[in-house]
């Protein structure tokens, strides 16, 4: 990855942060679109009825399909998917954002909530 944007100088020192830029997005555009498409009910229903067929119809690569099958939320982000399309798919597989956050941190949901000020607002 080349980061040539001076606005982002130093961002590579922040562990666990994956800046989403044009280079990354262009490489992962189709995978991002797969998640974005979940804003339409017909795509949600296609995914619910046959995940494999939905992924193939969307033209996902084998590596991408494996990430979806594994529900590898962190892996998907590291691969280059923007969280804001990923959260649309989270609704489809009935995960709350807080549950996804815990997974990305490598924590159980309960352990993650215990680090929050008002866990009852889940």
């Amino acid at each position: 990855m080349t980061l040539s944007n001076p606005e982002l100088d130093g961002i590579e020192t922040l562990a666990g942060t994956y800046p989403f830029d044009l280079r990354i997005c262009n490489r992962t555009l189709n995978f991002n679109r797969f998640f974005w498409n979940m804003i339409r009910v017909e795509n949600r229903e296609a995914f619910w009825s046959d995940e494999e067929a939905a992924m193939s119809a969307a033209g996902l690569k084998e590596e991408e399909k494996a990430l979806v099958r594994a529900r590898d939320w962190l892996g998907i982000v590291q691969y280059g998917v923007n969280f804001f399309v990923l959260e649309k798919w989270a609704r489809v597989v009935k995960k709350s954002n807080l549950e996804v956050y815990a997974i990305m941190r490598g924590e159980t949901f309960e352990a993650f909530l215990s680090t929050r000020r008002v866990p009852e607002s889940r």
Binding site: N5, P6, E7, L8, D9, G10, I11, L14, A15, G16, T17, Y18, P19, F20, D21, L22, C25, L29, N32, R33, W36, M38, I39, R40, V41, R44, L74, V77, Q78, N82, F83, F84, V85, E87, K88, W89, A90, R91, V92, N97, L98, Y101, M104, R105, G106, F112, L113, T115, R116, R117, V118, P119, E120, S121, R122
Partner: protein, 292 residues
């Protein structure tokens, strides 16, 4: 002549919309958030602005990354509230004013802000999360929205300074509109949060409070900051606070903070603030005339 009477800073966490729709306003875990908006809603009910001009971002909902504008102005008499994967919300379409939106668009383009125009497009939680906490919606919204979307998702983003200047240009656009309209500018997003990667859950209350002080008295310092500075200090997604700077640019150099509520419950420092212009709504042009 239209004039800007004040500004609002408001988080746009989607969970606020979810809690609102589920009627959790009195739930002890959510009451501090909803109560924090009440003084702002009361001020709006008393001041009765005709227009809320929003600086917000689309969360790759209406717009996908294959065609993702840096700045985009919504034009339409009605904007549906977007389905973001969980189905539609029970809110009326957002109201618009095409003549005003077109005027703002013309002024901004003539000032070399080369906008994209979005006509009658759905609007997501960037506006729809805070809007029902600010304005009632039964039977309909009491005023119109001018929505200006800013890219805070796909780098390169506009700089903080560019957003600040956009706000200054928006002010000139509003004040050159001949109808006698009262306008409130709203900047949404923030404050500290990160919601991707292993650094998810990062917050920085010290920085949030410093941001709010600088926002009031030294916005130039915030305009000079780089995106990486925002990401380091407030978490990756807090870079969206550059949208607050657009709102700040549309206000007077001197502003009064009328209200502030800050509630960090889980992952986002949910904040709502209300600012009044120094001269409470006397347009800059009119004051120049008086001074002369």
């Amino acid at each position: 002549m239209a004039r800007i009477i004040g500004g609002i800073g408001a988080s746009h966490v989607p969970t606020i919309g979810l809690a609102y729709d589920r009627g959790r306003q009195a739930d002890p875990a959510w009451a501090p958030l909803f109560d924090g908006y009440k003084p702002v809603a009361a001020w709006l009910a008393a001041e009765k602005p005709d227009v809320l001009l929003f600086f917000y971002n689309d969360h790759a909902t209406t717009l996908f990354f294959d065609c993702y504008p840096t700045f985009a102005l919504g034009v339409g008499e009605r904007f549906p509230i977007a389905d973001e994967g969980a189905g539609p919300r029970g809110l009326p379409d957002i109201r618009g004013d095409v003549d005003l939106q077109a005027h703002v668009g013309e002024c901004l383009v003539n000032e070399e802000f080369d906008l994209t125009f979005l006509q009658n497009k759905p609007i997501d939680h960037g506006v729809a999360s805070p809007l029902p906490l600010l304005w009632p919606h039964t039977p309909d919204w009491p005023g119109v929205v001018v929505p200006i979307a800013i890219n805070v998702l796909q780098y390169p983003l506009p700089t903080a300074r560019r957003c600040y200047r956009l706000g200054q240009a928006v002010r000139r656009a509003i004040e050159s509109y001949p109808k006698d309209l009262k306008v409130v500018v709203v900047g949404t997003g923030g404050l500290s949060h990160q919601i991707h990667g292993e650094r998810t859950g990062f917050n920085n209350t010290d920085w949030d409070l410093e941001f709010l002080e600088l926002f009031k008295s030294e916005p130039e310092r915030l305009a000079a900051m780089r995106h990486a500075d925002y990401v380091r200090l407030g978490g990756a997604e807090s870079v969206e606070q550059i949208m607050w700077l657009a709102m700040r640019g549309a206000l007077d150099p001197e502003i009064t903070e009328l209200h502030r509520a800050y509630y960090l419950a889980t992952t986002t420092a949910m904040t709502v603030t209300l600012y009044a212009n120094e001269a409470n709504a006397i347009p800059l042009a009119a004051r120049t005339v008086e001074a002369a």
